[in-house]
């Protein structure tokens, strides 16, 4: 993630020439921290060295996912012999220096800095979404701020930008740490947010100061996850959802995506890494949701639809020699979809036309489910619990009304639901477990791992391998764990040779006569997470590089995939995301059904509702969509 950044050099990591470490001598430097001698790695920052030695140095602009900024100055420490204080986050240790992390001068400077920030900070903690989870608030507490030394703003200076379905910007609470700027440009390669103005006019703004809805923001919400304060937050629909719950004429349905259950424990102060699927189901019912569905069901359905689409594309290209757009790109991450629409609009034909699981479910709830239950779809309020900020935008895309109604009414984030659960007086970890509601029931582990980067690809491969070769995946990949597509490497690439083929399963027989045309072929696939990595692949494809020869590529807008989504609990870093991934893979491992095509509810819905099969007319009407060439310049 750290190489080749587009951000200004002022915000880039340090380049330190490391000594050649032949026998390890010279790789360590002995420094004194608070009069204690410790050995640290050459080139390590003072902050890292302190952390390793259990010495707390406060930070604000620093974030482990981002390059170094050194602009808040809260982490200053004394380095003996230097005229000025040095920022621990940016100072690389290359000599045996003496460091003081809490001298009177340091403490005074930090207190001044906090006082200065507070003097410009408009907002009250008890009416703030980040109350109790705010780095500014924590600093004020840590340094015992009991009055506003340099005054306190009484009036807001900036208008709150409520234009976006996904992200709300309240620059009155901004501390100018620029973590959002670095997130947007470095992690996401979007570059919507930038420091604007100089001196006292400096602030974070957008292109021509336009509202967020009118710029090329992809709604990923990654900036929210890395903002230390309440200056950035998601557009929260929970009040309206409460109203619907309280309205007896409404049938309030919630579908829950795989990632929130793997992270919601963090909202309740628990360590990351444990799933609360069953507990969450109970809590949702106690809050008042009428039914609780598992989005993994439509994730399984996505695999069937998107997999079929891929097979059709390959069939057209290889057998019928027709012009088709390949590689096929996944379309389940709405942040990625919008990124492509803005930055590579010429490639929208490569996007799978299959809707995301959220939107497929939306369309089915207000048709299939409504019919089955005899409920007027207009009385259904369909909520989607998502780890994602972009899902809020997605459900508001004007074309997402294939059921005849708005398919999904609200996208709700993990954080927002955590709040609702607390408001209902429920302590989630102590809830008894319960199951998902029928007719969609329990889904497969393949749908579940959609939450991690590589998960969609793994789910697809589990099915494709079995459907095409007739062999068990387990015979190809131990325990059906397709490890080449797992892990947090920014871009993953794999080749799967198809050496033998089996019979065409019934579900697909009307589409392809046999698999012989695939025999001897090598399936080339790739996986990218974080749009900065997506950009690398897209540029390679444009240049005709190796990724242009891929057949299928999974793209997720957020680092880590959905488990690192913009609606997930704050804070986030790679360790936390790894723990969430572990929770997801552990749960997958424990499930009886781990392949989408073995989900019996999926088979059932093709029997009774989507009767002309995958990619058939009904499925095309309800489960597929189209995209918009947006471009970078929008009026």
């Amino acid at each position: 993630m750290k190489e080749k950044l587009r951000a200004p050099k002022a915000q880039q990591p340090l380049i330190v020439e490391k000594p050649t470490l032949e026998d390890g001598i010279g790789s360590k430097v002995t420094v004194e921290i608070n009069e204690k001698k410790v050995q640290v790695l050459f080139g390590q920052t003072i902050l890292e060295a302190c952390k390793e030695n259990q010495i707390h140095v406060p930070t604000l602009c620093h974030h482990p996912d981002l390059c170094i900024a050194g602009n808040c100055r809260i982490c200053v420490v004394e380095v003996e012999g230097m005229r000025t204080l040095q920022t621990a986050c940016s100072f690389p240790i290359t000599a045996p220096i003496k460091i003081k992390t809490s001298s009177p001068m340091v403490r005074k400077a930090r207190r001044h800095i906090i006082d200065l920030l507070l003097s410009e900070h408009y907002g009250e903690c008890y009416s703030c979404v980040r109350n109790n989870n705010c780095e500014l608030q924590t600093l004020a507490k840590e340094y015992g701020v009991d009055s506003y030394t340099f005054g306190h703003v009484q009036e807001p200076v900036y208008e709150v930008d409520l234009s976006s379905y996904s992200v709300v910007r309240d620059m009155n609470k901004c501390v100018n740490c620029r973590r959002c700027v670095r997130t947007c440009i470095d992690l996401q390669e979007v570059g919507v947010l930038e420091a604007i103005g100089r001196g006292d006019k400096t602030h974070i703004g957008t292109f021509l100061e336009k509202p967020l809805a009118d710029v090329i923001c992809i709604n990923c919400g990654q900036c929210i996850n890395r903002c230390p304060t309440g200056a950035l937050r998601a557009n929260d629909p929970s009040d309206v959802i409460w109203n619907a719950i309280d309205d007896p004429t409404k049938h309030v349905v919630i579908q829950t995506a795989p990632s929130p259950r793997a992270a919601i424990g963090e909202v309740f102060g628990l360590e990351p890494g444990k799933s609360f699927t069953g507990e969450l189901n109970t809590a949702l019912r106690r809050i008042g949701f009428d039914v609780v569905f598992d989005t993994n069901f439509t994730a399984d359905l996505t695999i069937i639809e998107e997999g079929t689409e891929l097979i059709l594309r390959l069939y057209k290209a290889l057998v019928k020699k027709e012009q088709v757009a390949l590689p096929q790109f996944t379309s389940c991450s709405p942040g990625w979809v919008k990124y492509l629409e803005h930055f590579y609009p010429e490639y929208i034909d490569n996007l799978s036309s299959a809707k995301s699981p959220q939107q497929m479910f939306g369309a089915l709830i207000k048709t299939f489910y409504a019919q089955k239950k005899g409920i007027d779809p207009k009385d259904i309020v369909s909520v989607a619990l998502m780890p994602c900020a972009a899902k809020k935008f997605e459900c508001n895309r004007p074309e997402m009304v294939d059921s005849g109604y708005k398919d999904v009414d609200f996208g709700l984030t993990t954080r927002e639901l955590g709040q609702m659960i607390q408001e209902a007086g429920i302590y989630l970890p102590e809830m008894p477990k319960s199951n998902f509601d029928d007719p969609f029931g329990e889904a497969s582990g393949a749908g579940l791992i959609f939450g991690a980067t590589g998960g969609v690809m793994e789910a697809a491969l589990r099915s494709v391998i079995e459907l095409v070769t007739g062999k068990k995946v387990e015979d190809v990949f131990a325990n059906a764990d397709i490890t080449p597509v797992r892990g947090f490497e920014g871009i993953k690439y794999a080749e799967i040779p198809i050496t033998e083929v089996g019979p065409v399963p019934k579900l697909l027989q009307h589409l392809v006569p046999d698999w012989n045309w695939l025999k001897g072929a090598t399936l080339k696939i790739a996986v990218a997470h974080g749009t900065a990595n997506a950009k690398k692949i897209m540029d390679d494809i444009k240049a005709g590089g190796k990724f242009s020869e891929c057949h299928f590529i999974e793209f997720m807008a957020c680092p880590g995939g959905c488990l690192g989504g913009g609606g997930q609990p704050i804070p986030t870093d790679e360790e936390i995301r790894k723990m969430r991934a572990k929770a997801i893979y552990d749960e997958d491992n424990s499930l009886p059904v781990r392949k989408s095509h073995e989900n019996r509810h999926v088979a059932e819905i093709y029997d009774v509702f989507l009767t002309d099969g995958p990619c058939g007319h009904i499925s095309h009407k309800l489960l597929h969509t189209h995209y918009i060439k947006r471009g970078k310049y929008i009026a």
Binding site: P8, K9, A10, L14, I15, V16, E17, I68, G70, N71, C72, R73, I74, V76, R83, T84, L85, T87, S90, F91, P92, T94, M105, K108, A109, H112, I113, L116, L117, S119, E120, T149, F150, V175, N176, A195, G197, R198, G199, D200, K201, T202
Partner: protein, 411 residues
């Protein structure tokens, strides 16, 4: 600020001991390219030359570090941003002595092993652009620049880039950011430009005047150079003198000249205060006019602004603080917000609504800014706040019609 800046430079025949002493075009390059790089470094070291851009870092050390850095490309950048209020000496050098500046760059480039020199020219000096380009073309014609200079295997060329108009872009790392096409904001240091500079390559950023001294040192020797000035401040210094005096303009004086002597030379009468070093410098009251200009006592980049009895020092201070509030790059907390607080403090004094306790708190804040800001701007912006309030206590707390104990003030 504007009125103080609009001083005419009185253009007379320039005389001075070092920079304005006679020099024949091309001599330094001719001599240097025949020398070993170490010998040039030694000569510069012997001269004791220190950076004239304000910070006073030894030029030989800077060049040595750049020369020692391992890289396949290196750069030498001439800092001609001259943004400090009250300075206009670099303009004089560029307009009237371009041979010194450019030859200094060639010698520097040769010494550190750079192939490219870049002049970062203050946006307001755009009118010089053509003249300077023509001068460079002449040098190329005479093979003082370009491929294989004077038949040696040393190739070097210079390009001129226009600045982006912000004061902070004169700070060397912000300058480099700006050259790279980014917002002009200072970088974290370390790493320093001598290791990681323009486009990540080792880069020596030198002030116009520093470079202009080099050809004289090369041709006349380091020991000749250090005959002028004092022990720790060798050679001479250009002073941009403005404000209340009869003969404002650019003067070359040896280091060690006292403020009194300088005031005498420029014909200043009834002087109450002298601001040395521009807005970020310090304000010297009459009682200290025997102090000497030099690294030992009052170091300066050369801006001297003279205030006579008629001036209101609080207004002077307010001007400076307004300048910083606007010119801070806005990146770091102490400078971005600190300067606003200091300015507000001045305004409080102006209105007579303040407490001494709060003013003292602001002075302490100023001391934090000096040590905790990211770059020289924020580190020096409190200087005038602290020095003017200290040195002109009586005037300020009486002329404002309050002593801080009446009205809304108290405590």
């Amino acid at each position: 600020m504007k009125t103080q800046l609009e001083n005419n430079i009185i253009k007379t025949e320039r005389t001075g001991p070092v920079l304005f002493s006679p020099y024949k075009r091309g001599d330094a390059i001719k001599k240097a390219v025949k020398q070993k790089r170490e010998d040039i470094l030694f000569e510069i070291k012997d001269s004791g030359l220190k950076g004239r851009g304000g910070a006073g870092f030894p030029t030989s050390t800077k060049w040595m570090l750049t020369a020692a850095a391992k890289a396949d490309k290196k750069f030498i950048v001439c800092n001609a941003d001259e943004g400090e209020p009250g300075t206009f000496k670099d303009r004089v050098l560029l307009m009237e002595y371009p041979q010194l500046v450019f030859e200094g760059m060639v010698v520097g480039g040769y010494t550190i092993g750079a192939q490219t020199g870049i002049v970062y020219l203050r946006a307001e000096y755009e009118y010089m652009f053509e003249q300077l380009e023509n001068y460079l073309a002449n040098m190329r014609e005479d093979n003082l620049l370009g491929e294989n200079i004077l038949g040696t295997d040393f190739s070097f060329d210079i390009s001129i880039r226009l600045g982006s108009g912000a004061y902070v872009c004169g700070e060397e790392t912000a300058l480099i950011e700006s050259l790279e096409g980014h917002r002009g904001e200072p970088r974290n240091r370390p790493p320093f430009p001598v290791n990681t500079g323009y486009m990540g390559y080792p880069t020596s950023v030198n002030n116009v005047e520093t470079l202009a001294a080099v050809p004289h040192i090369i041709t006349k020797g380091g020991s000749w150079f250090k005959k002028f000035g004092t022990d720790k401040s060798t050679g001479s210094k250009l002073f941009s003198v403005s404000g209340d005096c009869e003969r404002p303009g650019v003067y070359e004086l040896p280091w060690g000249t006292s403020i009194n002597e300088l005031l005498e030379i420029v014909g200043a009468k009834n002087t109450k205060a002298v601001q040395v070093g521009g807005a970020s410098g310090i304000c010297v009251p009459r009682s200290q006019f025997d102090r000497k200009l030099g690294y030992e006592d009052i170091p300066t980049g050369g801006s001297v602004i003279i205030f006579n009895e008629s001036r209101n020092m609080l207004h002077v201070l307010k001007n400076f603080m307004e300048f910083f509030v606007e010119e801070s790059c806005g990146q770091c907390t102490p400078c971005r917000i600190g300067n606003i607080k200091l300015l507000e403090g001045v305004e409080m004094i102006e209105r007579g609504e303040f407490t001494f306790k709060y003013i003292n708190t602001l002075k302490e804040l100023g001391r934090t800014m000096q040590v905790a800001s990211k770059c020289g701007l924020g580190q020096s912006s409190p200087n005038s706040f602290i020095s003017i309030l200290e040195n002109f206590k009586d005037e300020i707390f009486h002329t404002t019609g309050t002593n801080g104990f009446n009205g809304k003030a108290g405590k």
